[in-house]
Symmetry: C2
Subunit: 386 residues, 2 copies
């Protein structure tokens, strides 16, 4: 296959954007990404979105966003895999360029979640889990994560406080990200005193629902202008893997098989092992998923992922930095757009443009987003070229 690179990145601040429409959010990110790419002209657009049909009565975002971005006439479609939509859309862009069907492809992750009341939003998010067998019983993504965390604490004798390190790390990094929803560090004590959301999850175990958009320009290396201003970032591994949608169908709910398999496949394609990466943008929609993702990727033994948070290994100077721009927890979690934000943040690291959050000599990143209870896992390996 041709070398496929991420030539442009763009993002809007994450937060409550009651004054900006869905299409404007997407456009702002696209405009920034196209400009960042040196003005490449996209021939196709994949929109990553999960909730616009249910929260904004708007499907058909491919045509909508292409139109509003002044790109009407190009190819477009929406790619959805719940919380893994951003990674799934990047993969389709990667395949489209690899197949030679387009030279320059745009990915736009966009989500608008804060215009509706919380209960409506929580119900819409629950469409990511099994509606007929889980949500129908009253289960939501949050209560499901709570049960997973309870089970984890029971199985592995992990205290609730063991999860503090994930939120503390995310908030420390978010403090330096001008696009983060929460730009404020927290202490372990603040974590400890936080109100319970769904026992044992407290407020800092749960990433906030948010509005936001992030965009990526994906293209063939040989199309970049000679004066291209950034270090090149190549997609060297790409994978999506599914697991059972309902957790009750898994032999062990604490094994994220799809996350594990998608890391294995993406790394195999890239010719690396996970230990070769300099950072891991993981899907910390709930802190329990951060712990389980670290284990699934092989950075910790089963039941010991939380220790990486406790001993500083996931910090910017640690052995496997995660959530380097705040993660879903502090940057905010705009649903289907989160996976695109993760890629933007990894590219900033690999270009050496991550500012105060720069991981020293970052040359290779693992980026993973999860849908529902990790029933979809999209993983990419990104590397600097040359």
């Amino acid at each position: 296959m041709t070398d496929v690179v991420i030539a442009g990145i763009g993002q809007t601040p994450v937060g409550e954007h009651w004054d900006i429409s869905l299409r404007e959010l997407a456009f702002n990110a696209i405009e920034a990404a196209v400009q960042d790419s040196g003005g490449l002209r996209p021939q196709a657009l994949f929109v990553a979105n999960m909730l616009a049909s249910s929260l904004s009565n708007q499907a058909h975002l491919g045509a909508l966003v292409a139109d509003f971005a002044g790109l009407s006439g190009i190819e477009a479609a929406t790619i959805e895999a719940a919380g893994a939509s951003g990674g799934a859309a990047l993969r389709q862009a990667y395949l489209t360029v690899s197949a030679g069907a387009a030279d320059v492809v745009l990915v736009a992750g966009v989500e608008k979640m804060t215009d509706k009341i919380g209960s409506e939003v929580e119900a819409a998010i629950a469409s990511a889990i099994d509606s007929d067998f889980e949500a129908v019983q009253g289960l939501t993504s949050t209560t499901q994560a709570a049960m997973l965390m309870r089970r984890y604490m029971h199985e592995f004798n992990a205290p609730r406080q063991a999860f503090a390190g994930f939120a503390v790390t995310a908030h420390a990094n978010g403090a330096n990200n001008p696009n983060a929803m929460f730009q404020k560090a927290i202490s372990s004590e603040i974590y400890q005193r936080a109100g319970v959301v769904s026992d044992p999850l407290n407020m800092f175990d749960v990433a906030p629902n948010a509005d936001g958009a992030a965009a990526l320009v994906v293209c063939r290396t040989d199309l970049l202008p000679p004066a291209y201003p950034h270090p090149l970032v190549r997609i060297s591994g790409s994978s999506i893997v599914t697991d059972t949608l309902a957790i009750h169908d898994r032999s062990d709910p604490l094994n994220l098989d799809a996350a594990r398999l998608s890391v294995e496949r993406a790394c195999r394609q890239a010719g690396i092992v996970p230990e070769d990466v300099d950072l891991f943008e993981l899907h910390d929609a709930y802190s329990i998923y951060a712990a389980l993702s670290l284990e699934a990727a092989g950075f910790a033994e089963r039941g010991l992922g939380w220790q990486l948070a406790q001993d500083g290994a996931i910090g910017l100077q640690g052995s496997i930095p995660v959530a380097t721009a705040g993660g879903l927890k502090a940057r905010g979690n705009p649903g289907g757009a989160s996976g695109a934000y993760q890629v933007v943040e990894a590219v900033l690291q690999l270009r050496g443009q991550a500012g105060a959050n720069q991981v020293a000599n970052a040359r290779r990143a693992l980026v993973q987003c999860l849908g529902g209870p990790a029933a979809s896992a999209a993983t990419h390996v990104l590397e600097t070229l040359g």
Copy 2:
């Protein structure tokens, strides 16, 4: 690129399936398609769906359908482009195989529309048009089509009765399709007497909302077993093109630019002109779109598409047969699944398996599905090999 073929097809009857869940519908079509392919093992799945988030509180159909079909662990995602979802999903499957990322890819179009009351369904379908600027005013897809038809009648002095031929042809063909929702021929007089739905659209100008699922197995030619039982059907052209989402942004609402461009691109890739095809599975969600699609594809001059319906040219023995299995009108229109049904029906024609509806010597088909007011148009050229 490698030759990519549609090796397996499957479909469920179209209708009101209150007793069959979304996942079971999809599974039934998938099981049939895999069996039809001679037992090929899919490595990836693209689900075409538009309405499950809003009507069934279920997103994340990639993981759900893969899981229920016993394919958990494969790659999966949902592809949505409103009514063009089926064609968009086929295109992603085609690109995935072309890129060498998978050898065998499944497309499953599935929609379940009849469990909810009509007004809810109509509102959900209106998510295919511009929510902020059209639907917010009370416009629906149906009333929009009515305005287009009114404009067409005015511009081109076409009588309302001019559209009868589309419904009569569709129902004549649907009468011989055991999977069609309406297996009953109608006369021009019955069309004339039908109640008005949204002036000037009458009941027979509007395809019925329906439940259904259709599936396709897409793979590389060289992977087929020597004993593969069907004539080979190759994808020789594939294209998706967008137009403005809101009709008021178009210089002429009676020109379906996306439909025209996508036919041009798909035909150019296939090395043919539209006149070379033996049938045209078009998107007759409303009869006005059948007329406009025939014009956009070049089979009729502007304003004269309706004449092809009147003089029998679109019949099975005509110069450009359309809706050969009943079209959306008589087979039924299960939203995001309709595009997959169209492909199933075209493949049956090209294999010579279309029974009483067989178009003589059908070797090449144009298949097109439209999203919203043809703001997305997905077009494929399919050909028999050898």
